[in-house]
Symmetry: C2
């Protein structure tokens, strides 16, 4: 969940100054438009790790927006008055009216996360708390409220550095409390609780926006852009719906108005896809160095050892209660097929199947999109290798427009839920993104065209996909960011060097199996 | 949840024969229209108590529909094959493709309910299971599947009678198993587990339809009508959306098509309001006898005793950790004000507030509808009496069309969730429907017009509401049926006799407090 927020995102002052100007005036325009229409309120949740810049962001938002129409609420521990009512009481009181913006600093997410990290809440308690939050937010969004959930993240190293920096400066020392350092000691526990909560509450209608908190320029601009995108998307949706309603009224009178009502109700739906796009996750793939190499000689020594280790685990007694799902994704010609063959060489042929995933059949299209992957879910003892997978929903279907914005934005949560079910039933889920550079792809395409027995592998579609390289990098970045979870992490494999890639794939499977089997 | 299914609903054979003819041809028409459009599949869940007619209903559905396009699935305990995969695997395999109907007899509800009733699942496990089901169904409906959830109910007495009847007949004896009788012994535990599950999964997009299982004619017709209503609502929604799209294309070309897209996506949304209307719940109020009377003399003896008992509880130590919310609903002139005054006479004036609920103010209208009720939620130690309440959403707002169908159908779940939060924080929630007959209302209206100091109480609006009497009875029946839960039951008070009504109100509050306080 936090991949895109550990990339060292930063924006230099000159760029910031320019962008800030634009953003401020766009935000004000949207704010006044909203105020006039009084169609909906906007709620901004400010959450994240200590030192991640939450307070500063709240201050900056109040500078950027017209503060007369912003309601700020900070919630500490409940007062006596509040404690003798349901926990949600104080949050209900803080809901802004239509037309206004509410900034909620410390909110309904604080208690569940702190409670779990400090051990006051058990695992089951957390499920109950998350369930309550999800129902509450569903109600808010059903009622037309725009909910922007901002999470300010720092890696463990950055948080330590940041707290030290604040402490070393007289002017900022007061901001670091004893409690902050106590929380820092629990960093890993906080990270794990936060990951669960964010994963389970990143819904289609109100996804989390995770913002790297290290650089003030970056975090402020990103926060502002997310809020602006959410306001703009809803305002545009309402304007479009009004146009439809007016046109239908003109052409069919009262009957037309009735017919168009759907469009108006619909305008209160998803703003998610535009909000998601405010965080640039493509750095997850663009930041790869591609420098390591592995000689053929060394590879040929290493591969039988790696395969041997995997083979041993595949025959272990623990396999009776486990199954393995391996997912391969990556650009065309990234070497998925070759890597898969090296994996299956380590396995008994009766033990695995490979599912190549292409465009859905008519039968598959007539079912919910996950249906065709459920069909092949392995029973205990078996491996299933998906050559492309359910992630097509948020890759090709998103990029090519086969899935609507609403459909692919809610797919992240649906996919996480699907994989959690697999894992709960004893499946080890291993997911690979084979990453190559654009140059390397070109080299491989040309080689395929030159080599007779490889020509079947290259089609005009491959060249067309290549033209959309950037869109795929963006989609893949979002995918990794939103579906790499502690229970089912993505492994990004630098695959310009095929030798290296194949060894890393096999070793990763071995180590995931080994840690799940406790061997 | 089961109020409308314990009324003794029955349909005579002549009526049945006539209605069945109409229904069958309507069902077939809808089925073929669906088959041709291939726009969505329909899933019918068949659940409920043993002997409630589940199997017979499945048979009848297969007679009524063209069985070539119906897929029947009955699920027993999972096979070895199935048990070594995630529990949802076998249900995914059973999903029908677009255009077809799937009838699932025994499904994802079976294990959670049986598990909880037999004690294999703890309370927290049930929350987790319910959460999973809710996410799964949300995904199905988001994908455009029409989900009809039928629950066949029998009261404890009827179930016993039904099992005995089946056993006494040679031809049907085989249908009663040892397991059925074992389950019957657990009737109360099953009822309580079922109530929780139904309450928590009766969502706006897929509400439960609870059908009384005693009379075959009634249960079959009602099941068929619910399925027909769901198909018809979606088909009509799609047709309307297509009309909008065509009109927009004609008037604005490609731009129009883009604008109209909202309407098409929207057509996959709620079918709930039409499905809900297939069960006639108005019998809940229409079946009241209104025969009892209480003389003024007896009343004057009883009232101080009743008030004394309530007063004592209101001053008990337990109030330090509890609060009380009392809701009064009922037709105009049902005697809400008078009953409230008799309650407050038993309380310390510093301890309670009365919240009269009329049309929302501008400020209230700018917030989600529950906001104005949350404002007044009492702290521990206090009573709040709502003279009309959040139930306005599913009464006046539904009847007058102030709330859209989508909004009021999802309100039942939102209200149940709200009340659960109150209860979890120590609130006792007592809800009264003061029921009067239409004649009695007329009498009271006329009396108000005649008596000078009562004239302010009668307005033209009261007369207008009276014209919609039947619509209100229907809405109130649905409301009681869907929001009377074991934790926050409705008390229907026959209020033609004011004396009787006031005593019953006070006694009910006393007994609810007393059982919550454990005194």
């Amino acid at each position: 969940m936090f991949e895109s927020a550990e990339l060292g995102n930063a924006i230099d002052d000159a760029t910031y100054a320019k962008e800030e100007q634009k953003l401020r005036s766009a935000l004000l325009d949207a704010q006044y438009e909203l105020l006039e229409s009084k169609c909906f309120p906007i709620i901004v949740l400010i959450n994240g790790v200590d030192g991640g810049g939450k307070g500063e962001t709240v201050n900056v938002l109040n500078e950027w927006l017209d503060p007369r129409h912003v309601q700020n609420h900070a919630f500490g521990p409940p007062t006596d008055e509040e404690a003798s009512r349901p926990p949600m009481y104080r949050f209900w009181r803080a809901l802004p009216p239509a037309g206004k913006t509410g900034v909620l600093f410390g909110n309904w997410y604080t208690q569940p996360i702190v409670g779990r990290a400090t051990g006051k809440l058990g695992e089951a308690d957390l499920v109950v708390a998350i369930d309550r939050v999800r129902q509450f937010e569903r109600m808010l969004t059903d009622e037309g409220i725009v909910l922007v959930k901002l999470w300010f993240h720092l890696s463990k190293k950055s948080q330590k550095k940041r707290l030290r920096e604040l402490e070393s400066n007289k002017a900022t020392r007061w901001r670091v409390t004893k409690e902050d350092w106590q929380n820092f000691k629990l960093y890993d526990r906080y990270a794990s609780a936060s990951e669960i909560v964010l994963r389970e509450t990143s819904t289609g209608e109100a996804p989390w926006v995770v913002i790297e908190g290290t650089d003030p320029n970056y975090r402020q601009l990103t926060a502002g852009k997310a809020i602006h995108a959410a306001m703009r998307a809803r305002l545009d949706g309402i304007a479009a719906a009004n146009k439809v309603a007016a046109a239908m009224k003109k052409s069919a009178g009262a009957k037309g108005t009735k017919l168009a009502r759907g469009a108006k109700e619909r305008a209160t739906a998803s703003t998610s896809s535009r909000v998601l796009r405010t965080v640039d996750t493509s750095g997850i793939l663009r930041s790869l160095p591609f420098t390591e190499r592995l000689s053929k000689e060394k590879y040929e020594k290493k591969i039988p050892v790696a395969q041997g280790a995997l083979n041993k685990l595949s025959r272990s007694a623990a396999m009776k209660e486990h199954s393995v799902v391996i997912v391969f994704e990556g650009m065309d010609a990234a070497g998925k097929g070759g890597a898969i063959r090296r994996v299956t060489h380590a396995l008994d042929a009766r033990q695995y199947s490979i599912i190549p995933v292409a465009a859905p059949t008519d039968e598959e299209r007539a079912h919910p999109y996950l249906w065709r992957f459920w069909r092949h879910v392995p029973r205990h003892g078996r491996f299933v290798i998906y050559d492309r997978s359910w992630y097509g929903r948020v890759l090709v279907e998103r990029v090519e427009g086969f899935a609507t914005d609403t459909a692919w934005t809610r797919a992240y949560a649906e996919i996480n839920e699907f994989e959690e079910q697999l894992i709960a039933s004893g499946t080890v889920v291993v997911k690979f993104w084979l990453a190559i550079t654009k140059d390397e792809q070109l080299k491989r395409f040309k080689e395929r065209e030159r080599t007779k027995f490889k020509q079947y592998k290259i089609t005009p579609e491959d060249w067309r996909n290549r033209d959309k390289w950037d869109a795929y990098v963006e989609a893949a970045g979002d995918m990794i960011d939103r579906t790499s979870t502690s229970v089912a992490p993505w492994t990004v494999v630098e695959a310009n060097d095929k030798h290296l890639a194949r060894i890393k794939v096999i070793d990763t499977i071995t180590s995931r199996l080994s840690s799940r089997f406790g061997s």
